[in-house]
Symmetry: C2
Subunit: 225 residues, 2 copies
DNA sequence: CCACTTTTAGCCTGGTAGTCTAAAACCTTG
DNA sequence: CAAGGTTTTAGACTACCAGGCTAAAAGTGG
């Protein structure tokens, strides 16, 4: 006797200054009418990542998911009322400048004000947000939330939405520049409504995940004691 | 058609000053005679964690595993030659002062000099070591590698073995004390062979995982700019 | 040209890690 | 019992980096 295997995705994007997650409304029991994470059954000869990409493609153009990583596998026998089902969750990130066409039953929801979700999808969504918040601090995941090119204020607003607290644009710039994850493009963005100095444009150096050795602690010393 | 689900464990311990992993030698095809990670099939009405604890119990006293966390789920359809099989790997840590009784077919192997392992167990083992190394820096996982009470030199030796590079006992002490994860017991350890000043004994404050907010970067500023 | 806005550069401060030196405390040996 | 060797420990010093602040730069609108 074997459990069914499904894949799920917590797809996050900053929209309207808030971190939002892609949800669809279930048309069938159980949890008919409840919001839930996109996903579905694993097919033969498929990896989990291929599976979640395939199911995601039903909801959103997968090319717009700039980053995808495995989150965790849920196995509580009671997590699905009718079926013994394991669920492997992925975290997906979508840059803030794309606005994918969505099916009728699918929309974005602010992670800060989630409705009751089906199954354990609420917990999974929060786990995804936590993973994002942690990685924003010691990796360059920002690239997956930001447009190709952006000003520092725009980037700060993304960080604010994702982290849930204020961020200093001054510090953000210095830190990311020093780490070499940010690159000035040289262009200027004309100032918008109400004037103000034109902002310099930046890009992320790499568009694949790169962790910046964050810990001064316990780094290899040059001399042993 | 459903895949089989197995659980695996990367059980690590520092032995003889080296980081070692618990392996058993397969008695059956495929990979007969090859070393592999302990684990086995998921049983009905069982969570993945219960499953790996059950399978681990065949090899080692599970009470001696001080920390257990989910690592990743492997899903390459080719990872097992004869069966469509998903494997969820766990990371387990055993304090250096216990020496569990082991079955005939099971022994410790230095992670630094692994033989060819069955399936993808080699990769999984290295992923486990990476996870441990990362978490040593920003959590208190050390508690799961160390005895109840220890001197700073002993703790440093554990870190050296796990991290694979030199560590300054001076820094280690200061960092862990400031973070409040280490606690002086007040006792002294009588000096051993050849004399030397007696060492102070320490304990870990908590014996459950606690992450110490590591990143000054992007922390909530008190004033916004 | 002046008031207002936003961005940017630069300085100062505080905290933490890495290095080094010397002292403390114990052992062994002559 | 004094001298020398060994290990641990405390403390000072330095370097680096993030957070906070201020003022200048560079636009817009009246």
């Amino acid at each position: 006797m074997r459990p069914a295997q499904v894949t799920l995705a917590v797809v996050l994007q900053v929209r309207d200054g808030r971190l939002q997650v892609l949800l669809w409304q279930r048309a069938e029991e159980p949890f008919k009418g409840a919001w839930s994470l996109p996903g579905g059954y694993l097919a033969p000869a498929e990896t989990l990542e291929q599976s979640i990409r395939r199911h995601l493609a039903d909801k959103v153009d997968v090319r717009e998911v700039a980053h995808l990583e495995q989150l965790e596998t849920r196995s509580d026998p009671e997590r699905h009322p009718g079926e013994w089902q394991l669920a492997t969750a992925y975290l997906g990130l979508v840059p803030s400048d794309v606005n994918p066409a969505l099916p009728e039953d699918t929309t974005w929801h602010a992670v800060g004000r989630l409705p009751e979700l089906a199954f354990d999808h609420g917990e999974i969504t929060l786990a995804g947000r936590e993973r994002l918040r942690a990685k924003l601090s010691y990796t360059n995941v920002g690239f997956a939330l930001a447009p190709d090119t952006f000003t520092l204020s725009e980037l700060r607003d993304l960080y604010v939405a994702a982290l849930g607290h204020a961020v200093s644009a001054t510090n953000l710039k210095r830190v990311l520049l020093r780490r070499g994850v940010l690159l000035p493009t040289g262009e200027l963005r004309p100032s918008g409504q109400g004037g103000g100095r034109p902002a310099a444009c930046f890009r992320f150096e790499h568009s694949r995940l790169h962790i910046t050795d964050p810990f001064a602690v316990l780094r290899p010393p040059r001399v042993i004691d």
